[in-house]
């Protein structure tokens, strides 16, 4: 359970398979609101424990990264009870591990910037403590073949592709636009958790909560632009090490992890690369190529899904 406190009235939500409370109620998260969470056992002194850790902590990393609208300096500290994250010109957040609770306490206002930071590096780090990893990913769900998950850096074209597929209607539906929590299933497969608010979607556009809480994935796509003069669509299956490295590179907040989380993250990326086919999908950003890209993706998912069901 994550407790996101910014003062004022609280909201109760279910995000990435976990109950989460925020102070105050956050408009962006409304689609994920649930009733009855207030009846959960109260956390023992969440504020005091988090605030106590605020002044302390060993610096883990200080990195430049895109948060909300621009590149900002983000610094993570390991405290006795969890983490503290400082984001340039936004503010500080304290994460406290109080098993089974994860509490996030901040005095940052619930402005669009504050919510963006909270849904990006802050909650990503909180979920990572619990074994759920946040990928930079856009995803669409197919009724028969499961989710098509496109990971890649900003500007790679993953959102455009997901939007194109979802706009075709019919069998495809939007799941995520920017960030997507994932976890390994027992036995080795990968599950995506689409119940997670997308910072770039308006409150009434949040699509994830309309799907099952967990969806099994049969293949992953790393989207990129061609380096040279390639004019068509290129699809190749990545070897295990390239697949693992791509997953590592596309994990949100990875550069804020301490040694223990880095090791767990490395193990996760390795297991994922062994469990799932990962494809590199490269094409010039041209709208007239999207139908071909879509049909190549559909072909692979249909094939991988069938293999998954057979095994």
């Amino acid at each position: 359970v994550a407790r996101l406190a910014t003062g004022g009235a609280s909201g109760a939500y279910r995000l990435a398979g976990r109950p989460v409370t925020t102070h105050p109620r956050l408009l962006t998260l409304e689609a994920f609101a649930v009733e009855g969470l207030a009846a959960e056992p109260p956390v023992q002194g969440p504020r005091s424990s988090a605030v106590e850790t605020r002044a302390a902590g060993r610096e883990i990393a200080s990195v430049q990264g895109i948060v909300a609208d621009r590149e900002r300096l983000v610094t993570s500290f390991r405290t006795g009870a969890g983490y503290r994250i400082r984001i340039e010109e936004i503010g500080e957040y304290s994460l406290v591990e109080a098993d089974p609770w994860l509490e996030i306490v901040t005095e940052v206002a619930a402005s669009p910037l504050g919510v963006s930071a909270l849904l990006g590096p802050v909650t990503s780090l909180a979920l990572a403590l619990d074994g759920t990893w946040m990928l930079h990913a856009s995803a669409v769900g197919h009724r028969a073949w499961g989710p098509a998950v496109f990971v890649g850096p900003g500007g790679a074209g993953k959102s455009t592709l997901a939007r194109y597929l979802a706009s075709a209607g019919g069998e495809w539906q939007a799941l995520s636009d920017d960030v997507l929590p994932v976890e390994l299933r027992e036995g080795g497969g990968l599950t995506v958790l689409p119940w997670y608010p997308q910072p770039r979607w308006a409150p009434d556009e949040q699509a994830g909560s309309g799907h099952p809480e967990r969806l099994e994935v049969s293949a992953l796509f790393v989207v990129g632009r061609p380096a040279g003069a390639q004019s068509g669509v290129g699809v190749e299956r990545l070897g295990a090490r390239q697949a693992a490295l791509a997953i590592i590179q596309q994990t949100v907040a990875g550069s804020l992890f301490d040694d223990e989380l880095l090791e767990r993250h490395l193990a996760f990326a390795g297991s994922l690369a062994e469990a799932l086919p990962v494809y590199r999908l490269v094409y010039p950003l041209r709208m007239d190529l999207l139908p071909e890209v879509a049909s190549r993706v559909a072909e692979i998912l249909e094939r991988s899904g069938a293999r998954g069901r057979d095994s």
Binding site: R241, Q242, A243, A244, L245, E263, L266, G270
Partner: protein
């Protein structure tokens, strides 16, 4: 590095390795950097972890792969050089 069959190199304490299929990813905790080793590199790393000499590792690889000794030795020299340069072994 100059080839010495009796040389032993030890993985640096702050490096973690994860075998992925037949390959290996290395993570240097102090640098925050990741390195990928192909199949031969992965075998080399396992040998170094087990405390084997370069000569022993070479012999084991020659048993396993159809490759001439000189090519493989040059490969190992190059990879060991890179591991040293990046402070992954000492």
């Amino acid at each position: 590095v100059t080839w010495d069959p009796d040389a032993r190199f030890t993985p640096v304490d702050r490096v973690r390795a994860r075998r992925v299929a037949d390959e290996t990813i290395l993570l240097h905790l102090d640098q925050g950097s990741y390195y990928a080793l192909n199949e031969v590199g992965a075998e080399l790393w396992s040998g170094l972890e087990e405390g084997r000499t370069l000569g022993e590792i070479l012999a084991r690889l020659l048993d396993r792969y159809e490759v001439d000794e000189e090519t493989l030795r040059e490969d190992l020299e190059r990879v060991v050089g890179e591991l040293l340069e990046r402070d992954l072994v000492g």
